[in-house]
Structure formats: C-alpha cells, structure tokens
Amino acid sequence: MVKVFLAPIQFSNTQLLKNIIEKLREVFTDNVEIINLPIDIESVRSVERNQYYSTKILAQAIQHTTGYDGKVLILVDFDLYVPVFTFLYGEAQLNGKHSIVSLCRLHEEFYSGVTNDELLLVRAMKEIYHELGHNFGLIHCKDWDCVMHQSAIIEEVDIKGGFYCGECFEKVKGVLH
C-alpha cells in the first residue's frame, strides 16, 4: 500500500489534524505519517492578493522530499492561488508525488459566519482524497457521487460524493491495498 506523508504548514488546529489522520488511516491504515517540511511561506506570498502561490509551495516541497517513498500531501489553512486563477482549493501533480490542499475556503464561517467543525472535516477529506486521486493518476470524474468530480465552488464540494466512485476506485485500488 502506498504511504501518505502529511505535511501541515502553519496549521494550528490540532484536533482537526488528528481527525484527518484518523480518517486517512481508515483507508491507508498505518501508512500515514506526519512530516515537517521547511517551506519558506513568505517567499510565495502575494502581498497584493494576500494569497500564497501553490505551485511554488509544491516546487519547494519537491526539493525537500526526495527521500520520501510515497505521496506527500501539504495541508495549509491559508488561501492559495496560481496567477491565472482567483483561488484554488488545492493543486496536485497528475500521476505525481506531491499535492497541496488549503482548508481556507472550506471553513463554513468563510461563507456564512457559522462555525461547523463536522462539515469542515467532511470537506477537507473530500479535497484530500481529490488531490491524492490526481497523484494516483485520476482525472476529474463526471459522476457527482465521486470525490473526483471537479468542484470550483463550495456548493459543489458539498454536493459531490465523499470517496471514489466504483470506476475510479477500480483504477486506484492497487495503490490503496
């Protein structure tokens, strides 16, 4: 089974992190490990946009993780961007090793002002499985019940499924077992 290295950066919600690890272990069993990556966040911050350039974070992560045999998932709570887009929930190397997920726009209080930790965990897991799916070689799926369905807005994150559909699961079951 593939190993997942979880690299939280400037992540202060320890309970959420614990819950994410617990959820990931339901799928990846003991193959989930927390790592520390010395990413220079300030160097990738856009002052104008008050966001962080995700591709450059991934580029730094690549340099620091040559010795890691598995998938490296960076978890942040700040907002991500690439110059052409207004924001990103996450970014992944298709068929690659690295991915990043931002929880910034997954917080319900970002939209309605209401804190909902349960919903945050559900949304976080969807985006984590989504980006890992890209690492496993999956592209976006047309099935709304599948976590690999594209979601450009939070409402789409909420209505899509929480895990891979049968067809996508068939493609990744080799790495999950």
């Binding site: 939209y111 002002g113 592209i139 976006h140 047309k142 019940d145 450009a152 807005i153 209505i159 559909c165």
Partner: protein
C-alpha cells in the same frame, strides 16, 4: 460521456499556459498550448481542436484576428477569449465574430468550469444521436441498483420510460429499498445527465435552515453571511433536484416548495433578484402521502404536483430471488474494497439470508454483509459471521409475527447494541436519525427495554 474534447490554449504568458494546461489535464482533456496566434493557426490547420482558449492581447496577431481566421477554417469550433482588461465593447465584438464566450483574468475557476462545460456539453449533445440512445432497451444503472426479479425489471422499464421525459417523478418504498438509486438512474439516463443531481434530505433539515439550504442567501443576508451562497435549487440548474423524505416537510415549506416547483423561480434569502433555475424534480417518501393528505398534513396541490409519475420499489422480502444476486454483488464489492479473499457463502448462511425479513431492505443486507466480511476468517461466510441480531432466532420466537413486531424487536436490539447511540444505530439500520426517532416514539421504546 467518455469523449473528452481537444483544447488549444493560446497565451503569450508561460505561467498562464502552464496553469491552464494543468487545469484542463486534470479534467481529462487533451491540451496543447501555443505562445502566439501565428503558431496556433499553424497547428490548428494541421490538428483538429474542439475548443480554443485564446488571450485577447498578444504580440503580433491578436486573439480577435485569430478568431476570424479560425472561423474561416472551422465554423463549429468553440472559441473562448481571455483578457486582462474587462471591456464590454470588445466582448460584444468577439461574440459577434462568433466567440462562444469571453472571460477575464484572473479567472474565476467556477466561471471557467461553467463556460467550458456548457460549451463542450452543447457540442457533445449535438453529436450524440439521442434518438438512437433512447431506442436502446438497456439503461445505465448506478452502482448498487441490482436485481433480476420481475419487479425490478418493471422498475428498470419505468426508469427507461420516464428518463426520456422531463416529468416529475415520485418514488415510493420502504427505507433502504434504493429510492435514491432509482432517482439517480432516472437522472443519468436523461438529457440532464451532464448536470448534477442535487439531493435534499427534507427530514434531516430544521425548517429555519431549509430555506437557506434550498434557496441560498445573499452576501450580508444575516450576520456572518460573508459570501453569496447558492441554494440546492440553484445548484440543480440544468440537472435534477431529488427531494428525499418529502412527507416530513412543514406546511410552510410545502407552500414554498409548490411555488418554486411551479414557477422555477425564487429569491435567495436576503435578496431581491429573481433567480431562475431549470431543474427536474424527483421526490421520494416512505410514508403514505394519501393518508397525510387526508389528515391535512400534506397539501393536496403539492401532492398532485409531485405525484405525476409514480414508481413503487418493492421491499426486499417481496423479491427474494434478488437476495442472492445482491448478496454476491455486495460480497464482491466489499471484499475488493477491503482487500479480503472471501469468495462465497456457506449454504446455511445463504439460506438464512433468504429467510430473513430484511426490514431495513437492501441497505440492511449490504450492512450485514459488510459486517460479515469484516469478521469472516475463512474463504466462505458462515451464519455466525452475520450480525448477531440477524442470525439470532429472537425475531421468530415471538407469537406476534407481524412486520411491526419484527421491526420493533430489531430496532430495540440495535439500540441496545449501540448503547442507545442514535447516530450509530441509525447508520447501522440504514435509516436517518429522524426516522429512527419517529420509530422509537411509534413503538414506545425506552432506554432500559430490550
């Protein structure tokens, strides 16, 4: 549905080309990128592209000039212009020249996704021979919608008939029979399949939340509403809205629902913009709506509005020939996902599955097999591997053989096993928490009883 368009991105900025290429590759599109209009024209003459995403302002030939040259070669191609400068006159000129749409940098992912999906889906629908598809007897079934019994064959035939129309459908059946799967089957066999099916569990939402959930809210509609939110009806635009447990909604919401279903228009909470949404309605219930209408608990006008085409899913106990088919299907599915080498059922285990009443229907069968797969230590599932409450004979010891008696006993045992944890018990029973509370009240169950 598997056809993916070929896309050509034309932009002089390398970072834009790379980001857009990456974005489209994740969508499964085949993408090429060119840094200027002249090179784009050269590759377009050589290769076939379905969609061009072109920067308006580039050194040399502009995006608009490229548009007119491309249209001379292929009038069907989808042309979307990107610009850093939002300019209405240029946008209008581009649209007059035949561009599909116009988008400004930095691009809102939702906007890009929406425009590209719309363009590609429209082109694809044109290409599809819908007539040919509708004449094929076989329907595309969602996972888990399984059955070879005459009752299920009839349901597949009904799905086939109704999916080609836009008729409102009412799906009825006990908890766990697969009402949501039937709704999904109707949706994915309809022309709305490229848009989402949005499920609303009416029984699980408090009335105060239901309004915002269904209709969305405007930015600033209430304290903390930092962003505009789309409601379920808006999210279902182009697709289907599935209203599950419709019998549980309040009188106030029944009036609201009737109005929205009839007009396909509504206001977001705190908004004054009339939002239009093109959705199909599929509703489901496990209650007797006719009784609720007679009791004055469910509006007659809403009942007739929803009950245009009715599909009744029989309980599993009435189609026992489907039990082995379903059992083997779940066995294969669950052993694959859990990576276990269990290949069969012992004969007595299979006999038991056939004899059991399945008050929780297919969902209960799946849960029972999941539990058996977890505990099974051999290559065949034994009776003992099945959940205790199913494999025990307690249900049949009683003189009262009615379904209600069996259901009461079953629920008591599950609650007892879960130390009256309602969420866990509801999940195990394959019903929602509201239904479980209703049943606890109905049977007068108390914490100390078993």
């Amino acid at each position: 549905m598997s056809y993916k368009a070929n896309i050509l991105v034309v932009d002089d900025e390398e970072i834009v080309r790379e980001s857009l290429q990456h974005w489209f590759q994740e969508e499964g599109y085949s993408v090429d990128a060119m840094e200027d209009a002249e090179s784009a024209l050269r590759v377009f003459e050589k290769d076939k592209y379905d969609l061009l995403l072109v920067d308006m302002k580039m050194p040399g030939m502009s995006g608009l000039d490229l548009l007119s040259k491309i249209k001379e070669i292929d009038d069907e191609v989808i042309f979307i212009l990107i610009t850093a400068f939002a300019s209405v006159p240029t946008a209008i000129k581009a649209l007059k020249e035949g561009a599909f749409d116009y988008i400004t940098k930095p691009i809102d992912p939702e906007e890009l996704s929406h425009i590209v999906d719309k363009a590609v889906n429209q082109q694809q629908l044109k290409k599809e021979n819908i007539q040919l598809k509708s004449s094929i007897e076989e329907i595309i079934r969602p996972e888990n919608l399984i059955g070879e019994s005459s009752q299920m064959k009839k349901i597949f035939s009904l799905i086939n008939t109704v999916s080609t129309t836009d008729t409102t459908v009412m799906i009825r059946g006990e908890s766990g029979t697969g009402k949501e799967l039937v709704a999904k089957a109707i949706h994915i066999n309809s022309t709305r399949r490229y848009f989402p099916i949005v499920t609303v569990n009416c029984g699980a939402l408090a009335e105060t939340l239901l309004e915002s959930e269904l209709f969305g809210h405007e930015k600033g509609a209430f304290t903390g509403a930092h962003y505009k939110r789309k409601g379920k009806f808006e999210m279902a635009n182009g697709g289907t809205i599935f209203l599950d447990e419709i019998g549980t909604i309040s009188q106030k919401m029944q009036i609201e629902l009737l109005r929205v279903i009839e007009s396909k228009q509504f206001f977001r909470v705190g908004g004054n913009e009339n939002v239009k949404s093109n959705f199909r309605v599929i509703a489901a219930t496990n209650e007797n709506l006719e009784d609720l209408v007679k009791l004055g608990k469910f509006r007659e006008d809403l009942y007739y509005r929803l009950n245009v085409f009715s599909i009744l899913i029989p309980p599993l106990r009435e189609r026992t020939e489907d039990i082995p088919i379903l059992a083997y299907y779940f066995l294969k599915k669950l052993t694959t996902s859990m990576n276990k080498k269990i290949v069969d059922f012992h004969k007595d285990a299979l006999d038991f599955l056939l004899k059991y009443n399945w008050p929780g229907n297919v969902r209960e069968l799946e849960n029972a097999i999941e539990r058996a797969v977890v505990v099974c230590k051999e290559d065949k599932i034994k009776v003992d591997d099945l959940p205790f409450h199913i494999s025990s004979n307690n249900y049949f010891d009683s003189d009262d053989k009615s379904m209600a008696a069996v259901e009461k006993k079953h629920i008591s045992l599950i609650l007892y096993e879960n130390n009256w944890n309602i969420s866990r018990s509801a999940e195990m029973l394959g019903i929602d928490r509201v239904t479980l509370y209703n049943k606890i009240n109905k049977y007068g169950l108390e914490r100390n009883s078993k």
